[in-house]
């Protein structure tokens, strides 16, 4: 029952989007890929657990769906996704700057791709498995409309979907600290 994950989340080393008041100067290069692209693609595997089937879109425009991710700092990251991709794959493929997303690469062995949906969308999502619930149970900031991004697959009906990346313990702690400082 060992699922194969997406190999290597390639992230660009560019200045972070959650910089808020702190501005960083990026001196280094942008994307650093250490496998040559063809090798990376051929090594990619997909999660084999509970894959619900929508076939990937036929042509590039036909399968495109717009998805918005509200990052932890409130910034809205808008991107296009292909039907049939999981939301984790969207984040990886589009190199979205969400820290620490998808540690186990879609194999239901962590809860770092935790996303929060609006109630209506949540209710229309495909049923959640025990395996997903087991890992979701460990997520920080669990809500009634939480799901793991690696188990939610993009459908055409999700065009314009907005999901929220939950804040983690350290985010909350910092919010409280900033709140205290601003009162002084």
């Amino acid at each position: 029952m060992i699922a194969q994950g997406i190999l290597g989340l390639v992230r660009p080393l560019r200045s972070g989007l959650n910089a808020s008041k702190i501005h960083f100067i990026c001196l280094g290069g942008v994307t650093e890929q250490h496998h040559n692209p063809s090798k990376w693609w051929s090594e990619r595997g997909f999660s084999s657990t509970h894959r619900l089937q929508d076939a990937p879109g036929e042509s590039s425009s036909a399968g495109q769906v717009t998805v918005h991710f509200i990052n932890r700092d409130g910034e809205r990251l808008t991107t296009t996704a292909k039907e049939g991709e999981s939301l984790l794959e969207v984040v990886v493929n589009q190199n979205l700057a969400i820290d620490g997303f998808g540690a186990c690469e879609g194999t239901l062995a962590c809860s770092t791709c935790h996303l929060i949906f609006d109630k209506d969308t949540f209710q229309k999502l495909d049923a959640i498995s025990d395996e997903e619930l087991d890992m979701l149970d460990l997520a920080y900031g669990l809500t009634e409309t939480s799901r793991l991004g690696c188990q939610v697959y993009v459908k055409k009906s999700m065009d314009g979907l907005t999901v929220r990346v939950p804040m983690d313990v350290s985010d909350i702690r910092r919010q409280l600290e900033v709140g205290k400082q601003s009162k002084q």
């Binding site: 060992i2 699922a3 994950g5 190999l7 290597g8 989340l9 390639v10 992230r11 080393l13 560019r14 200045s15 972070g16 910089a19 702190i22 960083f24 100067i25 990026c26 001196l27 280094g28 290069g29 650093e32 250490h34 820290d99 620490g100 540690a103 186990c104 690469e105 194999t107 239901l108 062995a109 962590c110 809860s111 770092t112 025990d130 395996e131 619930l133 087991d134 890992m135 149970d137 460990l138 997520a139 920080y140 669990l142 983690d168 313990v169 350290s170 702690r173 910092r174 600290e177």
Partner: protein
Amino acid sequence: PRVCVVGSGPAGFYTAQHILKHHGGAQVDIYEKLPVPFGLVRFGVAPDHPEVKNVINTFTQTAHSGRCAYYGNVTVGRDVTVPELRQAYHAVVLSYGAEDNRVLGIPGENLSGVYSARAFVGWYNGLPENRDLKPDLSCETALILGHGNVALDVARILLSPLQLLRKTDITDSSLAALACSKVKRVWLVGRRGPLQVAFTIKELREMINLPGARAVLDPADFTGLENAVKDAPRPRKRLTELMIKTALEKPREKPVEARAAASREWGLKFQRSPQEVLPTPDGKRARGVRMALTRLEGSGDSARAIPTGEVEELECGLVLSSIGSRSLPLDPAVPFDTRRGIIPNSSGRVEGVPGLYCSGWVKRGPTGVIITTMNDSFDTAQSVLEDLQGGVLDMSPSREGFRAVESILRSRGVRPVSFSDWEKIDAAEVARGKAAGKPREKIVDPAEMLRLIGH
């Protein structure tokens, strides 16, 4: 700015990753006492949980960054001191984890046949310091003290069918020992009740579904609990419901072969606190544990186990204590809270020592899974970034980073292992594993690792 991270497990790598990602000019050097990196991901995560180890891919990517360097085989506190590192770097982050284990503190603890779960896990995972453990698996019954995920990991490895373990990266020598193991019954014993178990549902489910082993849970332990968790948060509720369901399930009529196939068993015992490990007549080995029966005061996570005066003896030949890890002080220059076993800090900033930080278990205590450590490391990294930017740190004197440390190490006869050296070791392990159908065959002797890379 030059930043130094001590420890190359998840805490070290996630802290480094976050700093590198959010500061385009930082150089981060990661030091590790073993030749090989990744800490508990390599030595703690169970061999049959390879997906959890996928984080190695993102760590490898970080190590390949032009602004990150890895220096293995360097023991901070001995080969180079923390004050020397603080001279060489603008910021030093301590992420060296919890290498020791909590002690039971009961008579008989040092008898043959009693081990810490930590050492046992290190043994089957190829941690060099545990390679000669030679645990005695010649008895039928093993007792694991503790109700956490490590306890479940140990139980599962003891009872897993060999054909499942054979295809993992468990070490060859422990596989051979397990092949001769007589252990067929494992009890996980905890001081408190079902509502206080620290293990999580995925691992429990795995144990319940383990081929060839049946779960023995006493329904009496679960009376009234269905009601007690009615309004509990979902994680606690689901976990408890799974235990209740398993306890109440009647074994279906099974044909003889199936019953024989489930020749191994495991169970949970509650409200039992170990008082003494009892010796065999010759006084050398463990033959059982005397337990104090407890009652619970309070509820939920803060419930306390109070001895009732009654005792019980559980017979066993193998005792594994899985009651938690413990950090050790690294260097006299670093404050350490011995009672709590952590470095005193605030959001990762070591109290009273500007420029010194900590992340991971040595910062928070030795609990949590990789995501917990990840968030915590990002928190510390944020503190480092704020201080680098905010003029809090003394950036003016030129800090030479590794150049300064290199000459210190050379003068002490220490030769660091680079990341590409590790990749040679990695390739050798994978090649050796291939012949046996394993993802890798871990090299457990550091001297052999060093010979392999020509050191």
